[in-house]
Symmetry: C2
Subunit: 350 residues, 2 copies
């Protein structure tokens, strides 16, 4: 427990009869320093257990080498995957991450933003909470020229870079698939329509219905917060409908899994009575019985792209401000939960 004194460049300098400036440069591999002295310095630094003081360095250089991340929720595979992608790129580039999560409330999101602002992060990566209605809490960053990049939950018409998938197309494909499977009464379970991801998927849903000449009924739209309880309620609401719907497009795999579970307990057969499609391609898709048809939302790639954009902007290799929106590919993955017709693809692996 003996708290030894920290070694500084001054200690190294005096032990070698050099100046602190030389030591500083040597440790950063500055080209002006003689190879031979450089070696002496790094050797001694190693021996003494020198560790550079980030604060002194940050203070002088006026930058923190830290990126702030604001997530609405961490309990989803998708989000963790995005995080892993971000982490991979940022650690390679030697940036630290400060992670804040909003638990889906605007209030905490704004508090996180303030905190990160005070911590002087060099850049921000964010996905919005359910109830965020404007981006004023990010204004301080914009004013100071600190780059902000959004993914997944974004304001489509805002400035700043956004990395998203084509949610409308995904919603369209999910619904179209159900229609192709013979569904006529298709429920859509989704969340707060203020969020682009949900409103766009809904738009795709409506488009597919209208193209098929199916009228979109108000009562077939269920909006909730995707929690376990809300999912059970949604299932009950669906069971109470008469006639029973024959298809459900759920905007989230976990919610879809709970709905399947609840319906099965009521002896409703999936997919024979009701076919179901989820969204995200979480592991849960393969654990629920029947396995869940879903939209693959590639989290790692999104995280990597988001981070790569931010980092190269910060390093001056590219100017983010020229970019506006980056759209990542997503695709429908068909599994048993929606397969009623034994079509070309034959039976999905059982």
């Amino acid at each position: 427990m003996s708290k030894e004194k920290e070694i500084t460049i001054y200690d190294i300098a005096s032990q070698l009869g050099l100046s602190a400036a030389t030591v500083s440069r040597a440790l950063k591999d500055h080209p002006a320093i003689n190879k031979h002295t450089k070696k002496k310095i790094t050797d001694l630094a190693g021996k003494l257990g020198y560790r550079s003081n980030t604060f002194a360095s940050n203070l002088r250089q006026q930058k923190t080498n830290t990126i702030g991340v604001i997530f609405h929720e961490l309990r989803s595979q998708f989000m963790v995957a995005v995080l892993a992608g971000i982490e991979k790129i940022t650690t390679e580039a030697n940036y630290d991450l400060i992670i804040g999560h909003s638990s889906e409330t605007y209030e905490k999101e704004a508090a996180n933003a303030r905190n990160l602002f005070h911590k002087r992060v060099d850049g921000i990566i964010a996905s919005l909470a359910f109830d965020t209605e404007d981006l004023t809490h990010f204004a301080p960053f914009v004013q100071k020229g600190i780059p902000v990049i959004f993914f997944d939950r974004v304001f489509e018409n805002s400035d700043g870079v956004k990395v998203i998938i084509n949610n409308r197309k995904a919603g369209y494909e999910a619904t179209k698939h159900l229609i192709d499977q013979g569904c006529k009464r298709i429920v859509h379970v989704t969340a707060n329509l203020k969020r682009n991801v949900y409103s766009e998927r809904l738009a795709g849903y409506k488009q597919a219905l209208s193209e098929a000449g199916i009228k979109c009924k108000e009562k077939y739209l269920i909006i909730n917060d995707l929690t376990e309880k809300a999912s059970v309620d949604a299932a009950k609401k669906i069971m109470a409908m008469s006639p029973l719907p024959d298809g459900i497009f759920v905007t989230n795999d976990f919610c879809a899994a709970v709905i399947i579970q609840t319906l099965k307990e009521a002896n409703i057969k999936i997919p024979e009575d009701i076919a179901i499609v989820g969204f995200n391609n979480d592991v849960i898709c393969k654990i629920i019985e029947p396995k869940l048809t879903t939209i693959n939302y590639p989290g790692i790639e999104i995280g990597e792209i988001v981070a790569r954009n931010l980092v190269s902007h910060l390093q001056g290799n590219a100017n983010m401000n020229l970019t506006n929106t980056i759209i990542i590919k997503s695709e429908l993955i068909v599994r048993a939960s929606s397969l009623r017709k034994k079509t070309n693809k034959s039976s999905a692996k059982k």
Copy 2:
């Protein structure tokens, strides 16, 4: 995009004809400063958009107000819950978190430790990777008197504070429950026995068997890495046994769920043919069919306790070094996957 100059205490001081020292004290609510001047200062600071420079402050105070967290994996409900618990306490106490994850390898764990050491965190919270064999990578912290606290995956005989559950007891109860349900040939699927959590659960398993006069067979012990693939393999191994086992105690819910799924596909009935108990009480327990009996491992509480201990040590309110091990309660939660006898508790909710 106009990068305005940052406001410092000197700016505030000169605008008010005061000294920087006074401004600094006023902003920290130092008792020696006159209420009236204090108000003038905070008002102006607000108006100018002053934000304190953490680096200057950290540099001067020689502490970072940052806690490092080393996780072996983030993709589990349990770990995310622990993180949420830690976050709750540390943000209340105004500490930042730097999170590193080892992906279950010693190498990355050590790299994370080095990084956090260089970042000069004030304290460390860690859970060990599968293949970590010693704690030398934490030695630098100990030497400098930086507190390190472990949870879940720990070395039981090491110095330092550990927060764990009684894994032996949990393993015993899980196995005993299976025995009580009439199981005689009980398989145990677990992971690297270097980790206390797994070796202890195994010990509990053996104890329960021996008390019931059941011989513990080598071939009934399956050790893997708990991934999806490994879980499928484990299930196949089990199906190949003759006679078929009639009970499985799995050390992890996700792995248990995959095994259930795989067994069901082979037309094995759960729990009639084989009863199954998992570990952790992840949400997946309630989604898998039948619902999974498991051990409740209270992540949030563990996170809170770990963080509370560390924070109060750092704040000088308590000395962690007097504590050695904190044991949290865990309990068996019985659900359908193991219920063969309709006993006193009658049928678990269907």
